[in-house]
């Protein structure tokens, strides 16, 4: 598609339930990123995928969070046993590459999935 597509745009869930958030990156973009923005906070890096390399999971806040990217395209972020502090806007981004030594790879963001845990 023309842009990064995320679904659902809004999700309300009860504490303890599992949620899945989906991201469709721009076609041809090899790098995919997940960030989240909690209320009043900046963009917190969670995880990124680059081609077939092992993902950089260094930003995942706990083992309740996981993500996968199937076929080098669509990605799913899964949060198990959700907690109220997981409430945030989860943003996905993609870029042409991440390892270039010249040129600033520009991340294109989706509109985000707003998660509310009651």
């Amino acid at each position: 598609g023309a842009g990064v597509s995320q679904s659902p745009s809004n999700k309300v869930t009860e504490k303890g339930k599992d949620v899945e958030l989906r991201c469709d990156p721009i076609s041809g973009h090899t790098a995919l990123y997940w960030y989240r923005q909690s209320l009043g906070q900046g963009l917190e890096f969670l995880i990124y995928f680059q081609g077939n390399s092992a993902p950089d999971k260094s930003g995942l806040p706990s083992d309740r969070f996981s993500a996968e990217r199937t076929g080098g395209s669509v990605s799913t972020l899964t949060i198990q046993r959700t907690q109220q502090e997981d409430s945030a806007v989860y943003l996905c981004a993609s870029s042409l590459s991440s390892g270039t030594v010249s040129g600033a790879n520009v991340l294109t963001f989706g509109a985000g999935s707003r998660l509310t845990v009651l």
Binding site: L43, S98, G99, V106
Partner: protein, 118 residues
């Protein structure tokens, strides 16, 4: 470790005047800084970047200045317009030592909310 700091959570400017958004960083191992703009309920959009080998980059009304000795960069918008009202994020891209290349994920500041009054 907050590697990218935006110490002003908000800034209010009169239309037509200059807006100056500031960003400080602690880690010198980077190759690019980027500025993103975010409107409510939308994903961040790329605005302008600067390479570590430069001290200025200009694009229309937007100019970014980099002062490496002070570990400081700033975004100037002149003249400011009401449509510039948004949250502005400063972000850095790390430089990997292992292969001379760059890590793709961006580290963002907490953002500065700019309000341009008519």
């Amino acid at each position: 470790d907050q590697q990218v700091k935006q110490n002003s959570p908000s800034l209010s400017v009169q239309e037509g005047r200059i807006s100056i958004l500031n960003c400080d960083y602690t880690n010198s191992m980077f190759d690019y800084f980027l500025w993103y703009k975010k409107y409510p309920a939308e994903g961040p959009t790329f605005l302008i970047s600067i390479s570590s080998i430069k001290d200025k980059n200009e694009d229309g009304r937007f100019t970014v200045f980099l002062n490496k000795s002070a570990k400081h960069l700033s975004l100037h918008i002149v003249p400011s317009q009401p449509g510039d009202s948004a949250v502005y994020f400063c972000a850095r891209r790390a430089r990997s030592l292992e292969n001379g290349g760059s890590q793709g994920n961006l580290i963002f500041g907490k953002g500065t909310k700019l309000s341009v009054k008519p």
